[in-house]
Symmetry: C2
Subunit: 377 residues, 2 copies
């Protein structure tokens, strides 16, 4: 929904985003990362300490409060997070790596916001910051979080991502990788070698793959959905965040573009513009039940819904648009990407069958009768 | 954590806030309200349409983007939400009341941010907007949402709230109520009649209670945690949001101060400054297991944690601070308000007892031995 160059997330999209946030929380919690929330407004004084008020100024949306103090709407939180860690009591060795993350709204004063949520001025990003005592343990932490990213994208969401080396850019540091999804919009692009599985940004020129087999290198249009950086000590030095051995922390940072993942996934998985497909684990509802008017305020419908709700995580939608035909409603439910659609009906005697589809990942419609319903209780 | 007049939510507080958000989501979903997200930046043009750019200017944090367009960091979203509804295809009668809500960061350029999260420049608020065809159905919707508020505060969180009539103020409209919690900070205050259960803001002068028994009226210091308004057609008229009968929608709005609820609950329930108490349903963890060094990488500990995790919603904390004494760790877990604390130990032969406390709402410590653990599997 476009409103004055901003976007409102409507109920179906909101459900997908909420599911993405929870999925990421579970995976990051599994490696001991802790969730926090940092303020959206960052004070200029803090950003001056790393000279990024200057170097990022054209992208920073700036605010002056009633006392004349200058702030920016933070596009990222290295400064704020490092400042936080510098204020903590000394960390013991066994507390490292310390990993904190947040999923909050970020801002970038885009010259030309476009492609909807893909390149918006306000976007929802999960950003994780890690703190280690030395660079070799920082590299281990980097690998550990990258493995979790693979688990999130490949195992949980079932997405084919392309991980490419990238320039650290304004964030600084020694190493950086981006995670890309195929996308026709020409928003971004990569070279990728299908043989050795390495790649680089299209803007970096040609790709020298490790296997030395340039014929396996393909160049295609993509969209970036995550990035990771080994930051070194740029921020910890500037903000005096010291480890137990009295040297500045070795930091990494890791971002997932949560709000841009929504259109990126839809674009990748949907075959046509009219029909939305999403990974089943983040589909807005895990099932929909289509009822006729007579079954609307019916105990069967109530029981069907509560039974499905117990069996399936992720919510069950009751389609109560009784003025429309069953066929029209099923079509519209297919269009919004609900993986199971169940039509509730009272069967004629002797005609009981179990037809709730168990397939995941494709749209299935099935009829759920009183008899099959009892099977499922 | 104070950082330049802003606050960072640390891991324990974040868990409480996340649980509050989910609790509110479940309750609002139960009456058919739909969750959305509206942008933080509101364009001046939209705010001019209701003249609130002018009337609220001292509180609005303002931003100019690189194209010179003016925006505010929205403190509330009546304009944005009404604009959204005005852009929808015509709503059918059975779709009403339409209720949409969000839980997002709001901003107010406070002259003097104070009391931490209680009066902060950035705050997390759940705001719900309802749209009805006429004022009598709007009144019904108002009552329905107020009942859900009672369920959230009284039944789910176990909090004694005081509902008082209030001036609609800058929001406009005919009726308004505030929900207050007792709080010693003198941030706010009310008159309340213990006999008839009605009250008003202290700043409105004396309270005329319905029962006519002024001796039952008490005046005390409070903090506001929620407010509700019957808005009438102020916003729908200004933004041309029309109902199926071609008259402007009758609107209500309903807010819960999610981030300020955290300190307000702690202040109400904690007996001393050193010890945090929260409603068990939103305590940061539902239980903690304290282990000795020898039990740390032990299958017993693993099984204990997973068993507790299955039985209790809300997360189980493993206290691995093995360099501290058991007593010190139990004391610190009590201080952060975890309702159940279990000490894991291997009992001497023949000395099995079940001591996991089942009490809710008070801190209990118990020992969980191999024997009792098997009982719980």
């Amino acid at each position: 929904m476009i409103s004055h160059r901003s976007r409102i997330l409507l109920p179906l999209g909101q459900r997908v985003v909420d599911k993405l946030i929870r999925l990421i929380d579970v995976e990051l919690e599994s490696i001991g990362a802790m969730k926090i929330s940092m303020p959206i407004l960052g004070p200029r004084g803090l950003w001056d300490k790393t000279s990024r008020w200057e170097s990022m100024s054209s992208e920073l949306l700036q605010v002056k409060d009633r006392h004349g103090v200058e702030w920016c709407l933070q596009p990222t939180a290295e400064e704020m997070c490092t400042e936080l860690i510098s204020q903590l009591p000394a960390l013991k060795k066994r507390m490292l790596p310390l990993m904190v993350y947040q999923t909050t709204e970020k801002f970038r004063d885009e010259m030309n916001p476009r492609f909807g949520l893909l390149r918006a001025r306000q976007f929802l990003m999960k950003d994780l910051y890690s703190f280690d005592a030395d660079s070799s343990s920082a590299s281990q932490t980097y690998e550990m979080v990258c493995e979790v990213y693979d688990r999130i994208f490949r195992d949980r969401l079932g997405l084919e991502t392309f991980k490419v080396t990238a320039q650290p850019g304004v964030h600084g540091g020694s190493q950086s990788h981006e995670y890309h999804l195929k996308n026709p919009l020409e928003e971004d692009g990569i070279h990728f070698c299908s043989r050795c599985g390495t790649g680089s940004k299209r803007e970096d020129g040609s790709h020298k793959c490790e296997c030395g087999e340039p014929s396996a290198v393909d160049t295609f249009s993509t969209v970036e959905v995550a990035h990771t950086f080994q930051l070194g000590t740029k921020y910890s030095q500037a903000l005096s965040a010291m480890s137990y051995n009295n040297t500045p922390f070795e930091m990494c940072c890791f971002g997932i573009g949560v709000s841009r993942l929504l259109p990126a996934m839809i674009s990748l998985l949907s075959k046509t513009d009219e029909v939305v497909r999403l990974p089943p684990v983040v589909a807005p509802f895990s099932a929909a039940v289509v009822v006729t008017k007579s079954l609307m305020p019916n105990v069967i419908t109530e029981l069907t819904l509560s039974s499905l709700d117990r069996q399936l995580r992720g919510g069950v939608l009751l389609d109560d648009r009784v003025e429309d035909s069953i066929g029209k409603r099923i079509k519209s439910l297919q269009e919004i990407g609900i993986p199971r659609i169940i039509e509730s009906y009272i069967p004629s005697a002797g005609n009981c069958r179990s037809s709730l589809s168990k397939a995941i990942g494709v749209i299935n419609t099935g009829k759920l009768s009183i008899c099959t319903f009892i099977v499922y209780l």
